[in-house]
């Protein structure tokens, strides 16, 4: 089956694809834009927070890992594909459906720092971005406005931002106790920017602090692009086709001619297009472009995560436990910028999260069963504070996404990760864990346990089709256009030349808006 040609076909309806589509349709309303998404819309009535068995959903159909969901007893609504992650100590997490991973993200919404765009110039490591913070700043503001951000202006860790649309989410006892620890040490802390309504905003309610954000938000207080950017994009005329799995970007004589996809009925469909934009995250984008034969030596290479570790402190006083958005209490950038005396360049992000639900906490105990396990659970539940340490990976060509010899059930080649935690990242994590333990002790913790590397934290799938000027070390130019195929664009976190040490969604959205503006100008 062959469809009529369109002007632009976008692959993927997550943070990058949604923002890109909405903006391009606004800037160039005459274009015919189609977005193909491998998964479907999620109905909030099916989310587990309504049910008594909501806890086990976190390790079953609503697990954050696609590999775990594929093994689950109950079918998932995420249109997943298996990922061979045996070669990576960090396991990839994502959601495959309209909204992408914003469906099950924690919605912590920080920006990169200005220095993150110039690591080579400032610190002699990594690479500089082809543009700076100031170039992206207006797009950060626009993405914030569309997503709806709770927070507090005046943070000395960042250039001045506009007033946040809503006041910050409540810190709760847990956050205020952690703040006491940071304060005792004289260290920076600040309530997080969160893409979660703290009060009713833009037709969505305020958060009622139910907890399991990563199993979908039943009230829609948490922003996800299916409820933020997509209604705008569709109003602007974008056609979104769910349950369509793109098999190949067709490339002839150095030009993309469209895509071939498998529709909801399993039929092969040819979709001609003047321009193809891929936004399937750092794994999905690399997989599709490799399967399409894009000739680019850097494609799939330089895979970066934000390696994560936890320090958990146990206190005598009663705290909240798993009350409120899991990723959103407060953070510290006291150690974000480079200090050469630490023995490594760049820095770490410290984030006070909410605590584990009872089942998750029980599964993480050692021992996991018996009298001591129950005693530990009782001592820790509602008496602990966890500090997440995020480190900045640096670009290394050997960390990569490749194809396997298998053909998966979705019709595409299998995909494999090879990733080694670098000495740099290990040092960063250890430094961050030491600081986190200091905070917890200062806050009153009588016992602190560490998780030196948390495996199920691979949300941030970055840099496998990075921007740059050198075609041997980058895949696209500064406008997201592939060096080898200029009418084939990338519009997601795959583009990041470096990744900072903070969650990337805010930057992915801002970058997608900039790229859409660039393309609209090119077409005009």
């Amino acid at each position: 089956m062959k469809n009529d040609p369109v002007d632009v076909v976008v692959v993927g309806a997550g943070m990058g694809g949604a923002a890109f589509c909405a903006r391009l349709a606004e800037r160039a309303p005459r274009l015919r834009i189609v977005c193909l998404e491998r998964g479907g819309w999620v109905d909030p009535r099916t989310m587990p927070a309504w049910r008594r068995d909501w806890q086990r959903a976190t390790i079953d159909a609503w697990a954050t890992s696609p590999n775990l969901r594929l093994k689950a007893a109950a079918p998932s609504q995420s249109a997943d594909y298996p990922i061979d992650d045996r070669g990576s100590p960090i396991k990839p997490l994502m959601w495959n459906g309209v909204g992408g991973s914003t469906v099950n993200w924690a919605a912590h919404f920080p920006r990169l720092h200005p220095s993150d765009f110039r690591t080579k110039t400032l610190d002699g490591v990594g690479d500089d971005w082809p543009f700076g913070y100031a170039d992206l700043e207006p797009y950060y503001d626009q993405n914030d406005a569309a997503m709806g951000v709770s927070g507090l202006a005046g943070d000395p860790a960042y250039p001045r931002k506009p007033p946040r649309a809503m006041p910050p989410l409540a810190l709760g006892r847990l956050g205020m106790t952690a703040a006491r620890g940071f304060d005792a040490l004289g260290w920076h802390w600040w309530p997080v920017d969160a893409a979660i309504n703290s009060v009713p905003h833009q037709g969505r309610p305020g958060c009622n602090y139910c907890g399991p954000c990563q199993q979908g938000c039943v009230t829609r207080a948490k922003a996800s692009t299916d409820v933020t950017w997509w209604p705008k994009a569709i109003t602007n005329g974008v056609e979104l086709r769910p349950h369509c799995i793109v098999q190949q970007v067709t490339i002839e004589a150095g030009r993309a001619t469209g895509v071939v996809y498998r529709d909801a009925g399993g039929r092969a469909v040819v979709q001609p297009a003047s321009c193809v934009v891929v936004a399937g995250n750092g794994i999905g984008t690399a997989r599709l472009l490799l399967a399409s034969g894009l000739d680019s030596p850097a494609l799939g290479r330089y895979l970066m995560f934000h390696p994560a570790a936890y320090a958990r402190g146990m206190l005598k006083e009663e705290l909240d436990g798993p009350v409120g958005p899991i990723g959103c209490a407060l953070y510290s950038h006291e150690f974000y910028e480079t200090d050469a005396s630490r023995g490594f360049k760049r820095g770490v992000h410290l984030q006070v999260t909410r605590e584990n639900i009872p089942l998750m906490q029980a599964l993480r105990l050692e021992p996991a069963w018996g009298r001591d396990a129950q005693r530990l659970l009782r001592e820790e539940f509602r008496h602990s504070i966890a500090i997440l340490v995020l480190a900045e990976d640096l670009p290394e060509a050997h960390n990569r996404v490749t194809l396997t010899d298998r053909t998966e059930v979705d019709g595409l080649p299998g995909v494999k990760l090879d990733y080694t935690l670098s000495e740099h990242s290990r040092r960063s994590l250890d430094f961050g864990l030491d600081r986190a333990e200091e905070v917890l002790r200062a806050a009153g913790a009588h016992r602190v346990v560490r998780l030196p590397l948390a495996p199920l934290t691979g949300w941030h799938l970055l840099s496998t089709a990075r921007m740059g000027t050198d075609p041997t070390t980058s895949v696209t130019d500064a406008r997201g256009r592939c060096h080898a195929v200029p009418n084939l664009l990338v519009a997601d976190g795959s583009l990041f030349p470096t990744v900072g040490a903070v969650n990337p969604a805010s930057t992915i959205g801002a970058l997608a808006l900039k790229l859409a503006d660039d393309l609209a100008k090119d077409i005009a």
Binding site: R52, W54, A170, C210, L359, A368, Q374
Partner: protein, 135 residues
């Protein structure tokens, strides 16, 4: 596989204490484990010298048998443990003992305490600090 044996295994995993109920006291569905985790339960019985022997054993001896099977059949054992812990930490007796609501998170949610004056003062001190970012 008798109910007494199943109860003994489950209460070895979750013996309870003066605050938390044991697995059987929490009303866990013992027959379901016999159906879905037969091989690992059989292995525990064999390790102890038989079903009756496991039932008669003290807590230390039961734990030794279970630990041995945890080593020899790690995946099967983990599957049993996850099923048992899932049922336990979703049970009303266990949640109530932890001081946690027994109903789902929605529609009620939770009501966290508001920021107190001391925290607001701490935040104000941070706001007055010099810039931390590099241009």
């Amino acid at each position: 596989m008798t109910p007494e044996f199943l109860a003994a295994v489950i209460d070895t995993l979750l013996p309870g204490d003066d605050a938390l109920p044991s697995g059987t006291a929490a009303g866990l569905p013992l027959p379901a484990y016999a159906e879905s985790h037969r091989s690992v339960l059989d292995a525990i019985a064999a390790e102890a010298g038989g079903v009756e022997s496991f039932i008669r054993a003290d807590e230390a001896a039961r734990s030794t048998a279970v630990r041995a099977v945890e080593r020899t059949m790690p995946e099967c054992f983990r599957a049993l443990l996850m099923a048992v812990l899932s049922d336990y930490y979703e049970s009303e007796p266990a949640l109530a003992a932890l001081g946690w609501p027994t109903h789902p998170p929605q529609p009620t949610g939770h009501a966290p305490v508001a920021m107190d004056d001391a925290t607001a003062a701490r935040l104000d001190r941070i706001a007055r600090r010099g810039l931390l970012w590099r241009p």
